[in-house]
């Protein structure tokens, strides 16, 4: 596992200003993740896990430091956030605690939208979406609206959506927090399989220590600094 890192977050800090007060949510954090790696991020509440994910996932720019993909600088403090959208669409997938499905689209369409946004043809998008849902065992739910799905089913649709455009990196923020332990374990096993079979780099923030055995390594955050265990 000494291949070049897919993503490197290098010396990244994030400082939030609220009036006169400053919160250093991320403090010169440097993390590298390689293709096919499943990395867990642990740490107490408020330690900067979500902030790290937002910087690594190009949802926010760092106050200082850089984010590189395959050795190329993609995000730095002066980068325009809107310009990161194209990169996100092509290379990244996200899964959150909440499934964040679009309530007026059915399960298939919720996956399809990610493909259509990326310029996929309608028919191909519909086919691939159904295939993904079947892979996750919810093919029979394809036409259901999110409100008609259980929490676990919704989360599986969200994972299918994250995979739709064949991302190289998936970032997940407490994806199992709303699921019971069996279902949570299933989700983590899915990530493990995706890392092994599809060579996707996956970074999961979690409080659930029962799944740590599935991770290649864990990073513990405290006060905005990562420490490798």
């Amino acid at each position: 596992m000494s291949a070049a890192p897919l993503i490197s977050v290098s010396q990244a800090s994030k400082v939030y200003r609220i009036g006169d007060a400053q919160v250093r949510a991320l403090d010169e954090a440097s993390v590298e993740i390689r293709a096919g790696e499943l990395v867990g991020i642990l740490g107490p509440s408020g330690s900067g896990k979500t902030t790290f994910l937002m910087i690594a996932g190009l949802l926010d720019t760092p106050t200082s430091g850089r984010v590189l993909f395959n050795g190329r600088v993609i995000s730095k403090p002066e980068t325009n956030l809107n310009q990161l959208r194209d990169f996100r669409r092509k290379h990244l997938g996200f899964v959150f605690q909440k499934a964040n499905l679009i309530p007026f689209l059915n399960a298939t369409q919720n996956v399809q939208i990610a493909l259509q946004i990326n310029g996929a043809r309608r028919r191909y998008a519909a086919q691939r979406s159904r295939l993904l849902l079947e892979q996750f065992g919810i093919g029979n739910r394809a036409k259901n609206l999110p409100s008609q799905l259980s929490g676990g089913e919704q989360q599986r649709v969200a994972i299918a959506r994250a995979l739709a455009n064949q991302p190289e990196l998936i970032l997940a923020d407490e994806p199992t927090a709303n699921l019971d332990s069996a279902r949570g374990r299933q989700v983590m096993e899915t990530f493990r399989r995706l890392a092994d079979q599809e060579r996707i780099a996956i970074c999961v923030v979690t409080h659930d220590l029962r799944c740590v055995d599935l991770f290649d390594r864990c990073i513990t955050m405290s006060d905005g600094r990562p420490t490798v265990q």
């Binding site: 949802l59 964040n100 946004i117």
Partner: protein, 381 residues
């Protein structure tokens, strides 16, 4: 799969109510413009249909429609001798209220110069044109008579021999065509109520005030090839009459009598369109704010701004198109029952439809601005 459409289908009831409401506002616009068109049409109806090239009215008066005019009943004979004139007909029109079968009816009594004019230019929907010089009448259908009805006007009974379509004067009163002598008789007969009113209000001029034997104006038709200006100057040189061409009449009516109405209606249309824009803006804005989370998610997934703008614009246009369709439906159902003619001209409807679309597109501006300011991170909040 289309996002705009999917969202609207998810909120069908609200979308339906919005289109009904916005549609009602468009209906009001269509109605106001149609009402103006109707008034113009009715004002110009006789001027356009009667087949007169030149109107000869009382001196210094823009008669007989815009101003009261009264000329000698024998002016027509003088005019017959004018070079270039092919036909001369006398004209008389006044509004009078009658009580017929217990119904109060306002009518625009209009005299035809029988037998030169048998009313052949009047579009009948039943009955026939004039055969006799007395006691026959053609009534507009709005007056509610049928062919064969006997009605008592003044001291005499008149037979309705024909029913015509769309014959009303600029006040909206249905026209009753009779012959000139009958019209003169009716005009001099004043119901007791009118006499009383006249006594109380001696100075007030009224249409129904022609002196015996006089008419409102004389209509002149020219020979083919005759020079209108020449004929006009010839008659004007007599010094005692006013000479107006058909174009003069139109101009006097539209730019003299109707311009205030036109300005007023334009102002109302402007106000209604402004209200419509605000309503649509608010509606689109609310729909967008409610979708903030979804828009943030689309941005998180990497959607370009164009996709998000398209979604909002499409919804605005859908509201525009559906509202206008509902307005058309409402217009065609409601306006025929209005007391005044509401004329729906295809060209007007086309312009109004285009305006509806443009207005809704413009109204999406606030929503679009809001959507573009949403940040992908808001998915997490």
């Amino acid at each position: 799969m289309n996002l705009a459409w999917a969202d609207i289908r998810h909120h069908v009831l609200r979308f339906f109510l919005t289109t009904i409401g916005v549609g009602a506002l468009f209906t009001a616009t269509i109605g106001m413009i149609g009402l103006y068109r109707g008034v113009v049409y009715e004002t110009l109806l006789i001027i356009n249909d009667v087949g007169a090239d030149i109107w000869v009215a009382q001196g210094h008066r823009a008669g007989p429609f815009a101003e009261l005019s009264e000329v000698s009943g024998t002016l027509d004979r003088r005019l017959e001798g004018v070079p270039g004139v092919s036909q001369v007909r006398r004209f008389i029109q006044f509004n009078q209220q009658y009580e017929i079968n217990g119904r109060r009816l306002r009518m625009a009594v209009t005299g035809l110069d029988f037998p030169k004019d048998k009313g052949n230019w009047i579009p009948l929907i039943a009955g026939r044109h004039f055969y006799a010089g007395h006691y026959e009448a053609i009534a507009d259908q709005s007056l509610g008579f049928t062919v064969g009805d006997q009605i008592r006007l003044g001291h005499d009974d008149y037979t309705i021999i024909g029913v015509a379509a769309g014959q009303v004067d600029m006040a909206g009163d249905g026209i009753l065509y009779v012959t000139i002598p009958d019209a003169q008789t009716l005009n001099t007969f004043a119901p007791s109520e009118a006499i009383l009113l006249n006594r109380m209000n001696k100075t007030a001029p009224g249409r129904s005030g022609y002196s015996a034997g006089r008419v409102g104006a004389v209509m002149v038709a020219l020979r083919p090839g005759a020079d209108q200006e020449q004929v006009r100057n010839y008659i004007r040189n007599w010094g005692d009459v006013e000479v107006l061409t058909r174009d003069d009449q139109e101009d006097i009516m539209l730019n003299g009598r109707l311009w205030r109405l036109r300005i007023q209606i334009l102002a109302f249309v402007g106000m209604t369109l402004l209200v419509t824009t605000v309503v649509v803006s608010l509606s689109i804005y609310t729909m967008t704010v409610e979708k903030t989370h979804q828009i943030a998610l689309l941005k998180l997934l990497g959607a370009r701004d164009s996709i998000i703008v398209a979604m909002i614009l499409q919804q605005a246009l859908l509201i525009g198109v559906k509202s206008f369709a509902s307005a058309l439906l409402q217009s065609y159902v409601i306006f025929p029952h209005f007391p005044r003619t509401v004329l729906l001209l295809p060209s007007d409807l086309a312009v109004e439809g285009a305006m509806a679309i443009v207005l809704c597109a413009a109204a999406s501006w606030f929503g679009i601005r809001k959507a573009l300011s949403v940040r992908a991170q808001e998915v997490l909040s």
